[in-house]
Symmetry: C2
Subunit: 336 residues, 2 copies
DNA sequence: ATGAAAGCGCTAACAT
DNA sequence: ATGTTAGCGCTTTCAT
């Protein structure tokens, strides 16, 4: 059932049917009712495809994510999806698994499909990527970044203040009385992780605590790094009383490792995570952590994208979301 | 840049351009090369939207999920996405959060957008839902279900054998020497969970073990249920030596609860989960569990959907995927 | 080997 | 208050 058939049955013109479905005020209530009734009876619904071709708007956005198994992306996806759906948009899910080739193919698909906008998390910074991104911007397809964007470009981005988060987490441990605080981080060539480390170091400095290189472990976020970090700690003659880990998953692995080595958490050592994943409240001990507002990040990114699409504004906006310390059982006050 | 403009620049007809991009053999190599070159230069790519309207095929599928935070859905999503993308399809992500209203709206959106097919996990069984599903099938839009489908309908479905999985998990514990095995399950009105329980009971029977109602706890999958289950166990005079929990997340919560009550796992009591989530290997102790092949479920669902879409077959197919026992640290052999 | 033209389902300008 | 018509970008018959 399409508009032509329906118009025939309802004995009106296609234009009238169209106007009815677009709530045009010029149509009389009588015909409006009549058309709607017949449409319902015949299960007629206007084709989004035809509309898109005609209107040059698809009410579709692309969401580019490096991964979906990593448990912080589902929250972002959900936030984006919710705001999109309420606004009658639909999201095409693109996960490129850190593969350049997949990323390129998805960029092309999104271009071919005339998406109205793109939300992008996990920029790699490759030349090819930059080319695609510039292409979209030239064609007036807005892009909103999450976490980090293209360096040296006027961009719209939603993120947390990673420096402040690193600072805040460290400060919390200091306020708990800890004086020797180890730091376990991901790869420092990732901008946001470098910032977290900077925050950690600044907090130490501001509180006149020794900053000791041997307290820092950096490497990819994995169980291996967790083991490495624990091994490193065990060899230290002067052991830290707390560890700040910039990933909940790694923090959980570290807790496990430490427990296996006979440490009691938090009595022997405090552990502080970063992310606040759903699982973090379920493990033993429940993890104290710096919470990232994943859902909100998705929501805000989508809201910003909507503004860019619909209001045609080309503002360059940075939205900074708050992190929050969630105190649970893996940290405790010491000293006095 | 569209086909008309490109045709003009290349001094050929629109038909020729179209044929070039559809690899029509009638076009000479010379013009093919010429057109492709000019297309590249002007960054021309055929519009998927216009193609869709013309061809009545969108190379788009809808994926309906009840949730995305629940950690087994990301695996499914990933499996679907991978197979879709390799075949030049795109997936519209629809999460209805167990809300009937959202579900209906998404069904309508998918209809309006002429998706070529739908993958659906989490049927609720509501009348409205059934209406939509029938509508799609009537309009020849294939639907593949994951886990469970519509009762009394010829449907295409990908799932695991939940009875066998329940049986297998229980049997493993029996083979470890356990004679009193508690069972913690989700709501038994969910078909697949009922099946898992049936498998548990059958395994007990087949091994002439007492089946004791007081060993079973059922309720929604949550921390609350975990606590409830542990409380119940503590009151038992004859304690079980093992617990089989049909959800890793709940199993992890139960481990935490038990540890807080002073139990050592697996020395005092063995715990067996169900799912094999990424996190399950990281907790302490690492969880022995019945693994569901989430990724494969998504992949197989998408492959089946492709067959239905492209071969226009209307076979009614059930794909049964294997579960697997992953032995880790939370269970141990006892007795002899 | 290539071109001309109709039509996919819709909207918007213009006409009545 | 409603109808007529052209056109969005593409494919596909049918001609040449």
């Amino acid at each position: 059932m399409n508009i032509t058939e329906l118009a025939k049955i309802a004995q009106v013109s296609k234009a009238t049917v169209s106007m009815v479905f677009n709530d045009d005020e010029r149509i009389s209530d009588a015909t409006k009712k009549k058309v709607l009734k017949i449409a319902k009876k015949h299960n007629y619904r206007p084709s989004s495809i035809a509309k898109s071709l005609r209107n040059k708007k698809t009410r579709t956005i692309g969401l580019m994510l490096p991964d979906i198994i990593d448990p912080f992306f589902p929250g972002i996806l959900k936030g984006v999806e919710e705001v999109a759906m309420v606004n009658n948009y639909v999201v095409i899910f693109c996960s490129f698994d850190e593969q350049k080739e997949k990323e390129s193919i998805y960029f092309e698909m999104l271009q071919d499909r005339w998406v109205d906008g793109i939300i992008f998390s996990g920029v790699t910074g490759s030349e090819e990527e930059e080319g695609f991104i510039k292409g979209f911007i030239e064609r007036n397809i807005p892009i909103v970044f999450i976490d980090r964007g293209l360096e040296g470009h006027s961009i719209n981005i939603v993120k947390i203040d990673n420096f402040e988060a690193g600072y805040k987490g460290t400060k919390f441990l200091i306020d708990c009385g800890h004086r020797r605080i180890a730091f376990v981080n991901g790869p420092p060539d990732i901008y946001i992780l470098r910032k977290r480390r900077d925050g950690y170091i600044q907090a130490l400095k501001d509180n006149e605590l020794c900053f000791d290189d041997s307290l820092i472990t950096e490497g990819e976020f994995s169980v291996k790094t967790a083991k490495l970090a624990v091994d490193k700690l065990l060899e230290l003659k002067e052991k830290p009383t707390a560890i700040f880990v910039t990933s909940d998953l790694v923090a959980i692995s570290i807790q496990t490792e430490l427990q296996k080595c006979g440490f009691n958490i938090p009595d022997d050592i405090s552990v502080m995570g970063f992310d606040n994943l759903p699982i973090s409240s379920m493990v033993n001990p429940a993890l104290t952590t710096v919470a990232q507002p994943f859902l909100e990040m998705g929501e805000e990114a989508m809201k910003l994208l909507l503004a860019l699409i619909e209001d045609q504004v080309s503002l360059e906006r940075k939205i900074l979301l708050n992190t929050q310390i969630i105190v649970r059982e893996s940290t405790k006050k010491i000293g006095e």
